[in-house]
């Protein structure tokens, strides 16, 4: 995970603390209050009950006893209520912080360079960051470890004060053999040595526990991906259910699950559970030994009369608290270090390049201009592949011009669009808009020029009108116009002005399930609503029946008007109403021209494609 293991990443810590402050100012005060109360609270009963004990074994003074008892329960009540309030505040602020953090992650994801979104490494990174919370390594956990570390020191201070004052108020001890042994500095030294030894062992073991936890997170990376896929993508998604049943693939998937589950559990047992048991046992043994030594030492002190019986318990508790505070400090530090390393992942993620940051000049654009796009000798291959998907492509697209892009599967048609949309950089060559390299144009202005319907378009489960308008405040008139042109006239009549019906019944029974064809029309309506100067349609009628398809084609004028348009479709009939056709084959444009011109070349690809389809529609048997 990091290069410099062992050293604390101060830069990450500072960044984390700054981020927390930015996301939720109230987090730190709330955490501080809650933690301080938690730290102080246990000392009250320790001290006061010991005093009551001493009083009962000594003077038995009623007013004193009453006062002590009332103080004990009274302070307990005050601290309890204050503590509950502080916990509530801290809990709330923690949730708020977590919400804001995940929001920030979501926002960053939306702004990322498209190329990164498709990259599995980015997805892994995002997933690891999201899982930090389950592993108690989130950025707010980190802040908590830091604070608790400081409080451990605070606790140590209180404990020392208690120990010292109790010993200071001790009586003089009569001389004797037993007394000599107990009161000798050697005894104290022996105890101190044991405590120090205990701390050292603790430190060592805690480091191993930390390493086990870190390794565990890394081990789980790959397995979580498998897990997520099998359990969420495949099994829980009921749409997959048809094929699984019809092809009786249950056994195959069960085998895959079993092959994964068995080893995964074994790894957990061998590399997490067993080491932890071993380490916990060592710590427990150390604890038991120390506790016994402390008890022995303090009891003997009381036996020889150096301290009162009541203060036995103050001493024991104070010493144990001191020891635990040190142990706690070590543990908090260890978790703090691991979580600050982990935060390095977030830093990396937030530092990833964004779409808007590409290029250097960010030239602004006006929407209402005429635009001419040109591909200058553009070649492209995907990041992890060598095969050229586009091979020295030259192309021009202008206002008023409708361009059909056709070709065999995998010939590069959709890739052309992806480059035009600035999802990827050409491997060589440039794409210009009005003569300027599109990478140099302001990203948001550029995107504003396009209304796109992708082949694999997506819609959200929110309100219909919001989906179409991409806004929380849609313009109903514009909405209705877009819907009518897209062939949703029936829906307009049915909904009568209230278009806020949610898409799908996922979280609202009042939602409405739309068919594949209706969804396609909604996507078209969305493109229309945006009303951008360049329209790109990638298989926009694939899910539509012939009648609806014809409706859309007929309205094509309304749809596109005199805008620049790129139309990708396997249904070559649509080429009839495009001015030019670019025929792709193996990443190259092998033919370019109007439908009639291209058909004249009877050896050309277009002719082959056209006839492959037309021959089934035009035959001697047909009667018009």
């Amino acid at each position: 995970m990091s290069e410099k293991k062992g050293k604390l990443n101060l830069a990450a810590v500072t960044a984390a603390l700054k981020l927390i402050r930015k996301l939720n100012k109230r987090f730190f005060p709330a955490m501080l209050l809650s933690a301080v109360l938690d730290a102080v609270k246990p000392f009250i009963p320790i001290v006061l009950s010991a005093k009551i004990l001493d009083e009962l074994m000594g003077a038995k003074d009623i007013p004193t006893l009453t006062a002590l008892a009332v103080a004990l329960v009274g302070l307990a009540l005050v601290f309890h209520i204050l503590g509950a309030f502080a916990t509530k505040q801290y809990g709330n602020e923690n949730i708020r912080l977590a919400n804001r953090y995940y929001e920030a992650l979501a926002q960053k994801t939306m702004k990322l360079d498209y190329e990164l979104s498709e990259n599995p490494d980015t997805k892994d990174l995002l997933r690891m960051i999201s899982e930090a919370e389950t592993n108690h390594l989130a950025v707010w956990d980190m802040a908590e470890y830091l604070l608790k570390g400081f409080l451990a020191i605070f606790e140590m201070a209180i404990a020392i004060v208690l120990i010292v004052t109790t010993f200071a108020s001790a009586q003089a001890v009569p001389n004797g053999a037993q007394q000599a042994i107990v009161q000798s500095p050697l005894a104290f030294l022996a105890l101190a040595v044991l405590l120090v030894g205990g701390v050292l062992v603790y430190n060592n073991v805690q480091a191993r526990i930390g390493k086990t936890a870190e390794d565990d997170v890394n081990n789980n990376l790959d397995s979580n991906r498998q897990f997520g896929y099998l359990f969420f993508h495949v099994s829980y998604n009921y749409e997959s259910g048809k094929d699984i049943r019809l092809y009786q693939a249950q056994n195959m998937l069960k085998e895959k699950i079993d092959n994964y589950v068995g080893p995964d559990i074994q790894v957990s047992v061998d590399e997490f559970v067993k080491p932890n048991i071993k380490h916990f046992s060592i710590l427990a043994a150390v604890n038991a030994v120390l506790l016994t030594a402390v008890y022995l030492f303090i009891i003997l002190k009381a036996y020889v009369g150096a301290i009162t019986v009541g203060s036995i318990f103050i001493q024991i508790n104070a010493i144990m608290r001191f020891y635990q505070a040190i142990a706690g400090l070590i543990q908090q530090y260890s978790m703090f270090k691991v979580s600050s390393e982990y935060f390095g992942l977030s830093i990396r993620f937030f530092g990833l390049p964004e779409t808007t940051q590409r290029g250097t000049t960010h030239i602004r654009l006006e929407r209402d201009q005429d635009y001419t796009f040109e591909f200058h000798d553009v070649s492209f291959h995907y990041p992890n592949a060598d095969a050229l998907v586009l091979d020295h492509v030259n192309l021009t697209l202008q206002k008023g011009q409708r361009l059909a892009v056709v070709g065999m599967n995998g010939a590069g048609k959709t890739t052309l669009i992806k480059l035009l949309c600035r999802f990827y950089l050409p491997t060589s060559g440039t794409i210009t808009c009005n003569g300027v390299d599109i990478q140099e144009l302001d990203y948001n202005d550029y995107i504003d020029l396009f209304s796109v319907v992708f082949q694999d378009f997506t819609l959200f489960s929110f309100a219909l009108d919001q989906n179409i308008a991409v806004s929380e405040r849609p313009d109903n008139a514009r909405l209705e116009q877009s819907m009518n042109t897209a062939g949703l006239g029936g829906l307009v009549d049915e909904l009568k002005g209230d278009y806020s019906v949610p898409l799908g019944k996922q979280f609202d029974e009042n939602g409405r399930d739309f068919s594949g064809g209706e969804k396609q029309k909604i996507a078209i309506a969305r493109a229309l609503y945006k009303d951008a100067p360049v329209v790109v349609l990638d298989e926009p009628t694939a899910a539509l029946d012939p009648i609806t398809e014809f409706e859309i084609y007929s309205k094509f004028n309304e749809l596109v008007g005199d805008k620049a348009c790129v139309f990708i479709s396997h249904r070559l009939s649509s080429c009839r109403f495009c001015h030019n056709i670019a025929v792709f084959d193996g990443g190259k444009i092998v033919q370019f021209g109007s439908h009639n011109d291209l058909l004249e070349n009877r050896n050309g690809k277009y002719f082959e494609l056209w006839n492959a389809q037309a021959k089934h529609y035009v035959s001697e048997e047909m009667i018009s």
């Binding site: 009551i52 004990l53 009962l56 074994m57 009623i62 008892a69 329960v73 307990a76 009540l77 209520i81 509950a84 709330n92 995940y102 979501a106 939306m110 990322l112 498209y114 599995p120 009921y238 749409e239 997959s240 259910g241 699984i244 049943r245 019809l246 009786q248 693939a249 249950q250 069960k254 559990i265 932890n276 048991i277 916990f280 710590l283 043994a285 016994t292 009891i299 019986v309 010939a411 949309c421 995107i447 082949q455 694999d456 378009f457 997506t458 489960s461 991409v470 064809g517 539509l544 012939p546 009648i547 004028n557 396997h570 009939s573 009839r576 082959e608 494609l609 389809q613 529609y617 009667i623």
Partner: protein, 607 residues
Amino acid sequence: MEQPKKPEKPKYGTLSNIAFTLRNIIRIDKMLLVSMIALVFCMVAQPVIGVFMPKYIVQFFEDGRDVTAFLLLVAVFGAVSLVLGQIRSFADGYFPRMKSMYRSMRLGAEMCLASMQVDYQYLSSEKGQLENRKAVHAISSPSTGVEDIVVRIVECSTNLLGAIVYIFILSSLNPLIILGLAVCGMVSYFAGNLVNRYRLKHKEEINKVEQKTYSASESVRDVLYAKDIRMYGMFDWLASLLRKYDDENFEWQKKITLRMFFSEAVDGLIAFLRDGFAYLYLISLVLAGTIPVSQFILYIGAIAGLSMWISGFAKNAILLNKASIEVSDFRVFLDKSEENQHDELPKQDFSLPICIEFRHVDFAYGEHVIFQDFSLIIEKGKKVALVGINGAGKTTLVKLLLNLTEPDIGEILLDGIDSRKVDLKQYFSQFSVAFQDALILAYGMDVNISMRNSADTDQNKVDAVIETAGLTQKVKNLKKGKFTSCEKYLDNEGTELSGGERQKVILARALYKSAPILVLDEPSAALDPIAESHLYETYHEMTKNKTSIYISHRLSSTKFCDEVLLLDGGRITERGTHSELMRLGGTYAHMFDIQSHYYREEGGELA
């Protein structure tokens, strides 16, 4: 807003769910049960030591014992602490992780299998979807249902056992004390339950908001949405919605934590009264000489301990209840998947090719009637084209035929045999289906085609169907050939299939299975003209000796079928060969006309 519905009683009660959990733990991981027992034992014993040790120390001082007594006491204490510590370490190491494994891996795997085996009609219905979601919720995190109930069982047992031990200790004291403590516990329980009742009352609304937030943030992070998010500048809109749902969620959280605070405050007040009384009462007993100071210490410790156990039990009982409801959801879904398994239906002998018949079928989705008294015979060996506008019922027809859905009234017969009287597995094996939205798995292409593991796949057959489906060239270009993963999800070296390539794989899958009935649903929607034409030309070969149904919007396909069936408003309104229907001049002829419009010379361009 509608009134929140009163939650229905869960099918399985708390005790039944506890028994279910314990049975499963014994079956799946006996050591987990051992660690649970060890944990309970230590969680009770360790504090008990902590209560008795001060008592004995003070008592020895009171009695004026000599140093050897003390040394012995400390030695025993040390030994017991050591042993308990070791047992506790085992439990603390084993329990947290293995209970998660129990849930996520073991029960999770069983849940997956259940999802794949449960009746499809049920699963795709609204009720099934809801029950599925609830079952998934019960199993998807450490703090819910199936895993949480394990923790609650441990906690409640500890509390119960601890309470018994302390009651025993306090038995020599006035029994009214114990009664008083029980009353305190009750008040605590009711205060705590108020929070729970509030949660339950608003469960639907809270759920809805949680779902919206979850769905919103999931879509944003899903790469599928990435293109549209960028191209439509959705950032502001989505960021605003995310913020809105977050805030709504937070408001609910605040309401809940406020009520939790009140319940804690009540707890504190009760503790104040209880402990105040206990101290004053016990001090008075000491002053009166009724009990020695060492007993005082013991009783104070025991009272504090007992109160803790009682209020702990109250809190955990509430949580146990909540977890139990979720476990019940889980069991309900598992039960549903078991229903199919025990149906011992006979296997039938089908004579090939198979004749398909729909007899007086009625079917509706809720209020929406699709078929009413629908009858249809497809003779054996016929290749029919099924056409119709969107929403006419083509997909529903196919689902009924495949027995993925059952008709409300009427029968579907294969070779004269009622579909519901045939062993389901055998029934499914009669069909090769290529759905349009079929599942492509993130495993090798050979696995995707055979739907079996590589070892169980006939690789020669795979090669043959790859050829027929037109994938040979694509496979040649792949690094691992046909073993390349068809998705990048699990394997960086996997490939991304284009729309057309996916359709070819789906077709290859249907061909590999080579069943007597072939159903193709929009098999050429993403294919280029050449591939589409190739499909038509090989169709005859593909469907030799089979009965087949070809569904498509591309009416050019109908020429390759023996018959065209036009489905309109739940009826076959036109039926015949392509030429007969063209001569008829009805809806089919009209559709064919407008689709072929632009292919004809005089189609013309739009200005």
